[in-house]
Symmetry: C2
Subunit: 342 residues, 2 copies
């Protein structure tokens, strides 16, 4: 089956008009007689025609595509519950508008910067979705200097001209800490994520705030968010001078790894050690004990981010979005500490 390449000229011919008019009709511009409009659109539908984005972009200077660039160490790339659902959310917005997502993965900062530049100079995308924001993130200035649009997930520390999508975690972290404290925990440790990352740092700060509010002393080990370092941090804590009765992990994969360490040492969970994550992954439901965490909703992030970015690209409107705050999800991995030896 040779799918006939059908173009705007075919539609024009079929509708008995000039191709300029077809363009006007398609783009819902005024100045086209209603009945002509219908005839044109009908012909387009009959022929199964939709405009070629490449040709279109040649004059409109648009790519009709959004870019997402992930920086990930290839060795630890695997576990991240956030992205698949996030991308699904982005897609629902894009596909409804005939747009497309260009995904790139970069191993390090240099490759990352190169990827932004390439997608930009090659006019592959109209804007970028900035995730995993770092403190003083170079990408803000980079993307700005490239003359590209963007939205960021979370508020950059430096000045940013881009719309911000955000969700409050402070409230959820407060609730989580209160939950642990009211169970009787005093030695509550935090295995924080990459402190370069804004949300990692922010969570750590709120944990510390909550601890001090309760008259307790914070106990933090920083990691890179990988299960590997999560496991290592757990061992360090259990062997350390201030052995915790509860550990709050910066993300769920680390919490799962931490449980592995605890089980390995013969601890009975949650009696001997309470464990929590911070971003509500599905797998947390099926591990044992099921994981107390905060809810998230990556799909919602994706929808909001893509919508805001498209508004910026198409209408030049910069509108921030605040998602509903993350709430506490109590499952089975937290309980009152045992009063036994330690």
């Amino acid at each position: 089956m040779t799918s006939a390449r059908i173009t705007i000229n075919d539609v024009a011919k079929a509708a008995g008009v000039s191709k300029g008019l077809v363009s006007l009709a398609l783009n819902e511009r005024r100045g086209v007689a209603p009945e002509t409009r219908d005839r044109i659109l009908g012909a387009a539908r009959d022929l199964g025609w939709s405009p070629n984005p490449g040709a279109r972009g040649l004059t409109t200077r648009r790519a009709y595509a959004l870019g997402l660039i992930l920086r990930r160490d290839p060795r630890t790339i695997e576990v991240d519950p956030f992205f698949p659902a996030f991308i699904a959310g982005v897609e629902t917005v894009l596909s409804a508008r005939g747009q497309v997502l260009v995904l790139s993965v970069a191993a390090d900062h240099d490759a990352e910067a190169a990827a932004y530049e390439r997608l930009s100079t090659d006019k592959r995308v109209d804007g970028f979705l900035l995730t995993d924001l770092l403190a003083d993130d170079m990408r803000i200035r980079l993307v700005e200097s490239l003359g590209m649009h963007a939205v960021s997930l979370g508020s950059p520390t430096a000045d940013s001209v881009f719309p911000v999508i955000s969700r409050d975690y402070d409230e959820g972290i407060d609730a989580l800490m209160e939950h642990l404290i009211s169970l009787g925990h005093r030695e509550i440790a935090h295995v924080s994520g990459d402190e370069q990352m804004l949300h990692g740092r922010r969570r750590r700060e709120r944990y510390e705030h909550a601890m001090r509010e309760a008259g307790l002393v914070p106990n933090v080990i920083a990691t890179d968010f990988s299960p590997e370092q999560g496991a290592g941090a757990t061992k360090a804590l259990l062997d350390g001078p201030r052995r915790p009765t509860a550990i709050v992990y910066g993300n769920d994969p680390m919490a799962v790894a931490g449980m592995g360490v605890a089980h390995e040492r013969g601890l009975r969970l949650p009696r001997d050690l309470s464990i929590t994550g911070l971003d509500g992954s599905q797998i947390g439901t099926y591990i044992y004990p099921s994981l107390t965490t905060l809810d998230n909703d990556p799909t919602e992030w994706g929808i909001a981010a893509a919508t805001a970015l498209l508004r910026l690209v198409e209408d030049g409107e910069t509108s921030n979005v605040t998602l509903p705050p993350a709430g506490l999800v109590v499952r089975a991995s937290t309980a009152a500490p045992s009063t036994g030896q330690h």
Copy 2:
């Protein structure tokens, strides 16, 4: 900083030649004097110019992009250790060639088919990477009828004109079964993945083959590969008439979920129940007990698939690729069965 839009004309001017010649030089066509060639390429480099893929594709009929469409239930989209690393592999190949990956996520079969059609008719991609192959997969014929190129991960049951990337799992499954049997297990159950999916079915068949070879009777529960159904299947098996001493899960996330169920019932792993996965994820290293599984290497899949697809698109060469067979990775989740009551 207004990044000057620099085009082929600027390069032509700088090199003192016509834009036609610039094109010839850039595309390494013969008939360009060596010294002119160098001058042109030098000018291009100085100006930081690379050709606009959209404009280019207008005449070459290429998108300089590859497409990957994932069909995933939004509710269970989260856990799949395969894709991030697979995509990273694809990316290493694409970025080196100035190409790009277009990623799409579809909720169901209809949306999936629509996505293939859209990326195809809009000339968004030059070919598709077909993953998660189903038995008698409609996509083979669909993509063919769209006149698009593709490669498939695994061999389609129906005739396919597309290159096939494959890796032998039979050998690894045999080794895994032998491992369990030699430990003394007789009641070895299999929680299989989606039987619609080719690799899920194939794995189940090999498990059954190995059981019969050993004079044992297969015991299979089919699932959709989700942790949720993995947990459910585990409960059914533990409550069933033929309570297994070992369970082979179709993928690692289900194995993790299965462990959760076992722990919940107070079983001591691996003494009371041996558990294995089948696709070597990183998280398997950090759970307790660490997971016996087969190794995989999604990045390798990605590199091979993208390379083969690009060869097909650019040179018309259809070359199958066979990756090294998956090997057994023995960790701590398998041991001799306890001889106690049951």
